[in-house]
């Protein structure tokens, strides 16, 4: 057991080594959201959202772009990564070695988590230090809870989502078709407060809007208390449970013998 935990730790290290050496993927995962944040932060500097009681625009965009980063790295990158490994026979090879399947999978997912954490921290720091986003220690528990649950949620959905990708070459396109339209109705690029009720209900049924709204709760100066976004956490929690079931199914099919 101790040995397997140590093995998992080593797997994280090698996953990280390989991840950061692949500059293109690293750029795509980390720099894209950061560039969006810099652009939106600069363009809307000093602007306010009257519909939300004069909320500073940056307090809307930091949660939105952080959500985008979690979706991009947690879902898109994980799905593509697993699809690539499946089609290239990586899993087949791992199954033939004594490395426990769990150590391999947990190692890969933990490595993704590290990348998400780094990306989120960088964006929070840039948002707060560079653009003066509202930060409060009072709402830190709420912020951490929704970030953690959201990261788990999109990563497990990413493993399940790898099944949608038959060929990794065209995979990013397929994943974009799923995630990109949802980002437009999920309080990521612009507030959808004025959209018809059914659009909001539709968006609220998927996990993107709850994550963005949950993070936004923590950044809203009018939030009192620890900032737990109860309803958003509930929706994310349900998606995480469903995602875990789908992930388990995917992992079982990956480890099945022909």
């Amino acid at each position: 057991m101790t040995r397997d935990i140590a093995l998992t730790g080593w797997q994280v290290r090698y996953e990280q080594l390989a991840f950061w050496r692949n500059r293109r993927a690293a750029f795509f995962s980390l720099m894209f959201p950061l560039i969006y944040l810099l652009v939106f932060g600069t363009l809307t500097h000093g602007a306010h959202l009257d519909a939300r009681g004069g909320l500073a625009m940056i307090d809307f965009y930091v949660p939105g772009i952080v959500t985008y980063a979690i979706v991009l790295i947690g879902f898109n990158t994980t799905a593509l990564n697993f699809a690539y490994r499946r089609t290239n026979g990586v899993f087949k090879r791992i199954r033939a070695t004594p490395l426990p399947w769990a150590s391999y999978v947990v190692g890969a997912l933990a490595s993704t988590f590290l990348v998400i954490a780094l990306s989120v921290v960088v964006m929070l720091v840039v948002g707060i230090a560079l653009f003066g986003a509202h930060a409060s220690l009072d709402t830190l528990p709420g912020l951490l809870s929704v970030l953690l649950l959201g990261s788990v949620c999109f990563t497990v959905l990413g493993v399940a989502g790898s099944r949608l990708v038959n060929k990794p070459e065209g995979g990013m396109g397929i994943l974009m078709i799923i995630t990109l339209p949802l980002t437009f109705i999920s309080n990521i690029w612009f507030p959808i407060d004025g959209a018809p009720g059914w659009v909001q209900d539709l968006a609220g049924a998927f996990p993107l809007k709850p994550l963005a709204d949950g993070v936004a709760t923590a950044f809203d100066p009018s939030t009192a208390g620890p900032g737990f976004a109860g309803h958003d956490l509930l929706v994310l929690g349900l998606w995480t449970l469903a995602g875990c079931a789908m992930m388990a199914n995917t992992l079982r099919s990956l480890s099945r013998r022909a």
């Binding site: 080593w10 797997q11 080594l17 490994r85 026979g89 990586v90 087949k92 090879r93 070695t97 004594p98």
Partner: protein, 325 residues
């Protein structure tokens, strides 16, 4: 046909394995079949491989070699029949068994952004008896490439890395699927000597190959597979009755002589002559050769391009596979 060991002569230094597992057969396949719907990839194959033995599966593409090997590796589950590797059922995927089995696939999927040294270090950690990365790099002669990323390796270097990865856990049983495809002649000889060195350690090796010289150089026994069945099995020297096949003597007679001028031969022989020279086929190669060379020396005839040959492994293989397809 079944392919059992009938003779302990083929076991090499297998004592280490025998003491650990209390047995002499590393791999046993009994009446193994694998079907995919109407397609019968493997039909009733029975095969034993002794501990420390090098067994080579030959056969045309699609003959069922890879499926058979993948069943023994535990990658596939047979439709019927019994399989044991080191006394265990590979289909159960036990970690203890995977710890003792090395597999070299035709195209090993590895993270190409890691260096040769890193991937060997990573892989060796998974095993309870890891080989040191330096030792592995030495074995496959990749010393100069230790810090090179895998994506920058040539095809042949990749295959050598695959071999090193298969050896990372000091396996008792090593499966090699076409291990030297894409190697230059030098690298092939080097890989062969690595594999031979392993056999000296008592490692059991099962290899598939398209190269007859590879089978000849490495294998204790060869099994020929066609259409999912093993149609012939035995040591390379004796496969398909090769050791009893007639000897072929070829030479070119000097100008002015033809086959009718040859001396009387001491044993029944078939003599034929064409533009390329004389061909004599006989079961008494030694005696006929003696008579012919004695006659030529005595008369002062030069017999150009004089050769005495048994059929090669390739001749036998082609005859066997053509006869059954």
């Amino acid at each position: 046909m079944s392919c059992q060991i009938d003779d302990a002569r083929h076991y090499r230094d297998a004592t280490a394995v025998v003491t650990v597992y209390g047995m002499t057969n590393a791999i046993e396949l009994q009446h193994l079949s694998k079907s995919y719907g109407e397609v019968h990839a493997v039909r009733d194959v029975s095969l034993t491989v002794g501990a420390g033995e090098v067994f080579c599966l030959l056969g045309p593409n699609g003959a069922g070699k890879t499926t058979t090997v993948e069943i023994a590796e535990g990658q596939r589950v047979p439709s019927s029949g019994r399989v044991t590797v080191l006394g265990r059922d590979p289909a159960r995927g036990e970690r203890a068994l995977r710890d003792r089995v090395g597999i070299v696939l035709q195209d090993t999927a590895v993270p190409v952004d890691l260096t040769v040294g890193e991937i060997l270090e990573m892989t060796a950690r998974w095993y309870s008896r890891p080989r040191r990365p330096d030792e592995l790099i030495d074995l496959v002669e990749l010393d100069a490439k230790r810090d090179t990323r895998i994506e920058k390796l040539s095809g042949g270097q990749r295959r050598r890395l695959d071999l090193a990865l298969g050896l990372a856990g000091s396996p008792d049983v090593l499966f090699l699927d076409e291990p030297t495809t894409g190697f230059d002649p030098h690298a092939r000889r080097a890989a062969w000597s690595t594999i031979r060195a392993l056999c000296g350690d008592g490692t059991t090796v099962v290899l598939t190959t398209h190269y007859m010289d590879e089978a000849q150089a490495l294998a204790d026994r060869v099994g020929v597979m066609v259409g999912g069945e093993i149609i012939a099995c035995g040591p390379p020297e004796a496969l398909g009755g090769r050791d009893q096949a007639p000897t072929e003597i070829r030479f070119v007679l000097p100008d002015g002589l033809d086959a009718g001028d040859l001396p009387e031969l001491p044993a029944p022989s078939a003599v034929s002559q064409d533009a390329r020279g004389v061909l004599i086929t006989t079961d008494a190669g030694l005696e006929v050769t003696h008579t012919l060379t004695g006659w030529a020396l005595e008369r002062g005839h030069r017999l150009e391009r004089f050769t005495v040959a048994q059929p090669t492994l390739e001749d036998i293989y082609l005859a066997l596979t053509e006869a059954s397809s």
